[in-house]
């Protein structure tokens, strides 16, 4: 007959952050998605190194839209972080406006990116550069859209007062959004900054 231990100290149930399995699961998701972007950038570099003409074909892409857009996206991470830290308790809607604002900034990023796509002189199927350009930025854009969706769902749950401070859901949403931003920084450096001539 087995014996059960009766302990004096207690353990939390489904604790926050690293105590939860979800946090580690998100880390796994972020690693494999991050690697996916690494392979995309590898493909970009490989096609560039092997290309016979100039790379990018029409010279370096302009920064006029991309730079402000980058700043906007990074700022959204700051907004989210500052806002989430003010979140007080489980019966509190204080996080809803922050989530909505972050989602809005993300949406503006998507619209500007869309505009940038429209201004290109080449289309998706014009050649290796255009294929990888649209695929790489498109993959990222898809991640932003997924992030916006996640933020909106979180905002909805927050409005229903189903979120907790330090709770898993908000933490996962934040991790993911920051990840999307960091990836953009790398994509931006690869596509926009590296080809600029000093």
């Amino acid at each position: 007959m087995p014996d059960a231990i009766i302990a004096k100290d207690t353990l939390p149930v489904n604790g926050p952050g690293r105590l939860s399995t979800g946090w580690w699961g998100m880390l796994c998701l972020i690693s494999t998605e991050g690697i996916l972007f690494a392979y995309l950038i590898f493909s970009y570099a490989y096609l560039g190194v092997q290309a016979s003409g100039s790379w990018p074909p029409g010279g370096a892409p302009p920064l006029s839209l991309a730079l402000p857009n980058t700043i906007l996206l990074l700022a959204s991470s700051v907004v989210l972080e500052v806002g989430a830290r003010r979140f007080r308790s489980g019966r509190d809607r204080s996080t809803v406006p922050v989530l909505l604002l972050t989602a809005l900034m993300g949406a503006v990023f998507v619209i500007v990116q869309w505009e940038e796509w429209g201004r290109k002189e080449f289309g998706f199927t014009d050649g290796a550069y255009s294929s990888i350009y649209f695929t790489l930025t498109g993959f990222h854009l898809a991640h932003v859209v997924a992030g916006i969706l996640a933020l909106l769902v979180l905002a909805f749950w927050g409005w229903q007062q189903r979120l907790t401070r330090g709770g898993l859901h908000l933490a996962l949403g934040r991790m993911y959004w920051h990840f999307v931003d960091v990836v953009w920084l790398v994509v931006f450096l690869t596509i926009y900054i590296v080809p600029q001539q000093p």
């Binding site: 014996d3 009766i6 399995t21 699961g25 290796a128």
Partner: protein, 639 residues
Amino acid sequence: MATVPVPAPEQEKLVRTWETAPGVYGWCATVDHKQIGIRYLVTSIVFLLLGGVEALTLRIQLAQPNLKFLAPEQYDQLFSMHGVTMIFLYALPVLSGFSNYLWPLMLGSRDMAFPRLNALSYWLYLFSGIFLYVGLPLGQAPNGGWFNYVPYTSSEYDPGINIDIFALGLIFLGISTVVGSANFVVTLLRTRAPGMSINRMPILVWGTMTASVANLFAVPALSLACFMLWLDRNFGTSFFAVRGGGQPLLWQHLFWSFGHPWVYALVLPSMGIVSDALPVFCRRPLVGYTAVALATVTTMVIGFGVWVHHMFATGLPTMAISFFSAASIIIAVPSAIAVFAWIATIWTGRPVFKVPFLYFAGFILLFVIGGVSGFMTASAALDWQLTDTYFVVAHLHYVLLGINLFPVLGGLVYWFPKFSGRMMDERLGRWAFWIMFIGFNLAFFPMHIVGLEGMPRRIYTYPADLGVGGWNLLITIGAFMLASGILLFLYNLVRSLSVGEVAGPNPWDAPTLEWSTSSPPPPQNFDIIPIIASRHPLWEDRLEDVEDRSQLTTGYLLDHGRETIGTTPLDAEPNVILRMPGDSLLPLCLAVATSVLFFALLSKLWLIAGLGFAAALVTLILWFAPEPLADPEHPRLYA
């Protein structure tokens, strides 16, 4: 700390809490890792048989020169499906089956970290397997080999949906693999029993862990390559198409960045099976536990740096080739460490020659032969002669069957009593082993010779004056012998389910935790979560070098719903109670929605694809929905 005996009603309560609901609902909704493990095993063995039938068909065609049993196009589809089936649908999933079933039992946990994700990865595997097979009856199966090289597989040379099935099917399967791998990683980090620090884990856990991390890093390369290929074929992009400035070799780089680590993902867990089970039959602990664990990890790390050895013949710069040649040869070092550890375990133990032992010993021999031929193909100068000949086919079958199939079959015999409560028959088992072993060597050893004599691989027939007709006939006979051995094995397995001798909890007198529960284990695995103090909890009274004693009859009773204990990643100190989800239809729904999406993409029904995608999103949102706020952070007593 005080202890109290667990009263019988508490045990019944645990069973009730963890039991899967009866009937069709329970069958669709179960998240029990044991059931999912068995499903993985059964499904992958069905795929093994399918792949085997395809292989035998190929061998009939190749038995003699100039036969017309199969048309070239049929041959292409069959050899491609054979490779895809064996590599993607048998070899990895069968290992996931073992790990799914065994991990929580070995680790002293009640379930995997993400039970619903576990169910999801199985359903996705099943449906993507079906997806990959839909083309075969229509004569539209993938026909570009499991490596699927462009430009052969670009739309100019291979129109039709064959290659689209491959591209989409492997993205589909990749989701299952990534999801499953993430689950293994987190399970390992978070749900080990108190006291099971990482230097006390079974080697199988090390193997699957390493393979899972590798999958997280490797699978995206294949998914991306397949996605680009699909775009190239259907929308006119030029990633691989030369006419638009694309690079055919990019495919090979991406494919082998995935492919080489993947072959280690196929073998490291099965090497773990041997490292855990072989010592039981030698009546002593594994020699060099730490060295073997480290060798496992090292193999994988180096394995990420050698992909170019599959591309020696593509005209890369000499510097690159020399580097990758050297790296490939270095990888032999950790493998050799493991081999020496097994030999030393047999040497210094008192081996009993039961059936599983035969498989493990046979495995060591085949591993050595496969390693030697791997060494040969790894040196670039030799590989220029050997590549794309039957020599490579010999090598890859020695490693794949030797390192994957033999340990898997040995492992099935070994853990069969745990799965079913009964033993498999020894006499039939011996027969099956020897038929298989002799058949295997008859079938694959001569492939080295016909390869050296110049028979190319991936051809549907060969001229008579090549002079390899005799060898090929022998190979075909060997292949049929191997197949009959496998059938005899399966006959034995099915028969033993009903007439096998009743096993009891620990029929082999094994040292690890899974043998401390009844056979088969109860739904909750353990009435109490044990506390572990050594690598061999069940051998502690006979191994004198252990100071502390594990506590298998004293531990944490967690009975407020489905609960297990969470511990710190390295030292396994308990720090949280994990509340686990119950049965749920969400995994099946999500897998069905994903299938709708992929079938619609294949048929270019964009509207339906959109609906499938939306359905998947809705399921995901429901999946993640927070539970009602019923004091989720309220601390609770252990007992």
